[in-house]
């Protein structure tokens, strides 16, 4: 039965209206918008779902890891409510202001501490910074095989088979364990937690590990371990210039649209 680890990130809801999004250019940070909920990054929920599907078929144990701060416990417990077995939080000021590299290093050290793992799942990218580096980065720090952008993961004849999304379709890849797999939205909708799951999750102890707990080298963590330097963060300016075509009714508006497209030589 496979031991599985899933890494998840708590972020501001990426589906929030575009208008609510603002940045502080001087601080190079996003200004948290009032009323925008915290969620588990959607791709990470799909990573949890991928692990749960393996567990449904073969059993095993799922440990969820999350590095961050200001955790909203009802939110970050969601993977437990969906069916994961354990949740461990990584929280320490030493982890802050890092880049993908220092985050991947910290998660890799935590996974080493967990010790036994056959499969590690991450979302293909976090839906805030969209970098898509931490998953493969963890594999690099652990020195294990990785397959990215999976839409299906299954174990058949004791082999791990991954369907990896590529431009014109997908590839079926067999990978030896331990392996890290990043999961894409094509996997399909993650399951909703059931009431029983939510109640079980609420009762689970959630330990918090610090940099010291995972035996991390402080020079590789947070800002000290970062190699990417953020120079500037800004919201691109858009000038709206849409010409709304109206008519007596929608059919008439459609006719006028067609005529307009001809007039400006688009057709």
């Amino acid at each position: 039965m496979p031991n599985m680890v899933v890494c998840v990130k708590q972020i501001a809801d990426p589906e929030a209206p575009v208008g609510s999004f603002k940045v502080d250019e001087a601080a190079k940070k996003v200004i948290p918008a009032a009323g925008v909920a915290q969620v588990v990054s959607p791709f990470d929920e799909q990573a949890v779902e991928a692990a749960l599907r393996i567990k449904d078929a073969h059993g095993g144990k799922i440990t969820v890891l999350s590095l961050g701060k200001d955790f909203v416990m009802d939110v970050i417990r969601k993977p437990l409510a969906m069916g994961a077995d354990e949740l461990i939080l990584l929280q320490d000021s030493a982890f802050e202001n890092g880049d993908s590299r220092s985050t991947a290093y910290a998660l890799a050290m935590a996974i080493k501490k967990i010790g036994q793992y056959d499969l590690i799942f991450c979302g293909r990218q976090a839906a805030d910074w969209d970098a898509g580096q931490v998953g493969s980065g963890i594999a690099e720090f652990l020195g294990i095989a990785s397959v990215s952008v999976a839409k299906k993961v299954e174990i058949a004849d004791s082999k791990v088979r991954v369907e990896r999304v590529v431009t014109d379709g997908y590839e079926v890849i067999e990978v030896s364990t331990p392996a890290l797999i990043t999961v894409s939205n094509e996997l399909g909708e993650p399951r909703y937690p059931k009431l029983k799951g939510i109640m079980t999750a609420a009762r689970k102890q959630v330990p918090t590990w610090t940099a010291q707990d995972i035996g991390a080298d402080p020079s590789k963590l947070g800002a000290a371990g970062a190699r990417a330097k953020l120079l500037k963060l800004f919201v691109p300016v858009k000038v709206s210039k849409c010409e709304i075509i109206e008519g007596e009714n929608l059919e008439d508006a459609a006719f006028k649209l067609a005529l307009k497209l001809r007039e400006v030589k688009l057709i």
């Binding site: 999004f21 493969s136 590529v166 014109d168 890849i173 067999e174 963060l233 858009k238 497209l261 001809r262």
Partner: protein, 333 residues
């Protein structure tokens, strides 16, 4: 870091031709190399590379590193990663560019971490700082809601992946001269922990989405797989291709290979019909290069109307048949 020189591109190719993204990268990298007064090289790793090196030179490369090995026939992390590590350690480039493709996405972070440097993923724009000569990479963050400009500290190479169609390829010039350097892969089968069992193509029939001059794209508001048939009819009429935002793909109404957006394909047609889709930043990331967007949506507040040139506010079920009929008349008359 002072000893790192030159701009290097990782080439991609299929069926004996350089990929469009590689020609774009060579175009953009040529500008960067000229701004720095440095050499432009390209790595071509694969099996049976043949005449691709000359094509790469014709599109702007000064030097071509060729790694030809049957173990490189399929892209696999475990085969490409040590090969790229070896070449970068030997050639010591200042800048290394890859496409934001299935290969670049997978390879760039591991390679950057192995070389103790950073990578800027999915860059839209690359500039050379005139004072420091450092690379500045602009990339979308927060689903395209914001842009971030990254630079590197002391670490080299400065690695970036670049989005499709962000850069212009140069005109092919077969009179250009360049150097071809053969490199031994150093690979043995035991180094590769994955095995590509099968490749499945899911290409949508007709014009290729990335190449289409007209794209008819549907969103969540279409509500069903059947609705895409109407979009296909319109696309066929205009010799275009059908695309979709993410929700229809996730719901299985259309193949995920039709997805346009941050996690799908990048298109830049002349005419883009956005039908029953809201125009989220995640979606716009895939079609911001479209020259003319026509939006049909029943919600007048939908973000797509901020992006569109022309719009009709209303139910697509009423608008689309009338629009198709009139367009047909105009095209036949």
């Amino acid at each position: 870091m002072a000893e790192n020189k030159g701009v290097m591109v990782l080439g991609e190719f299929s069926e004996g031709k350089l990929a469009a993204i590689t020609k774009e990268l060579l175009g953009g990298a040529r500008k960067a190399a000229d701004a720095l007064g440095e050499e432009l090289s390209i790595v071509l790793a694969g099996s049976g590379i043949g005449n691709l090196a000359n094509e790469a030179i014709a599109f702007g490369a000064d030097k071509v590193y060729v790694v030809d090995d049957p173990l490189l026939a399929d892209y696999q992390t475990d085969s490409y990663l040590p090969v790229m590590e070896k070449i970068v350690k030997q050639a010591k480039p200042n800048i290394l560019l890859m496409g934001q493709t299935a290969i670049g996405r997978d390879l760039a972070p591991r390679l950057a971490f192995r070389l103790d440097t950073a990578v800027a993923m999915d860059s839209l724009e690359l500039n050379i700082d005139s004072a420091t000569k450092a690379l500045l990479a602009t990339r979308p963050v927060y689903g395209g809601n914001a842009r971030a400009v990254y630079t590197w500290g002391e670490t080299r190479p400065q690695i970036a992946t670049v989005r499709a169609k962000a850069m212009e390829p140069r005109e092919r010039d077969d009179s250009r001269k360049g150097e071809i350097v053969k490199i031994d892969s150093g690979l043995t089968p035991s180094m590769i922990r994955t095995n590509v069992v099968k490749k499945v193509r899911e290409e949508v029939a007709g014009v290729k989405l990335e190449d289409a001059e007209v794209v008819v794209c549907g969103g969540r508001g279409l509500g069903s797989a059947e609705a895409f048939k109407e979009l296909e009819a319109l696309a066929k009429l205009l010799s275009g291709a059908v695309g979709a935002s993410r929700p229809p793909c996730d719901s299985g109404w259309i193949s995920s290979s039709a997805q346009i957006g941050l996690t799908g394909k990048i298109v830049s047609p002349n005419l883009y019909f956005a039908i029953a889709l809201s125009g989220s930043s995640q979606h716009m990331a895939g079609c911001s290069g479209a020259k003319n967007i026509v939006a049909i949506n029943k919600d007048p507040e939908a973000n797509i109307f901020k992006e569109a040139r022309f719009g009709v506010v209303g139910d697509y079920k009423k608008v689309l048949p009338a629009l198709a009929q009139k367009l047909k008349e105009l095209l036949s008359g």
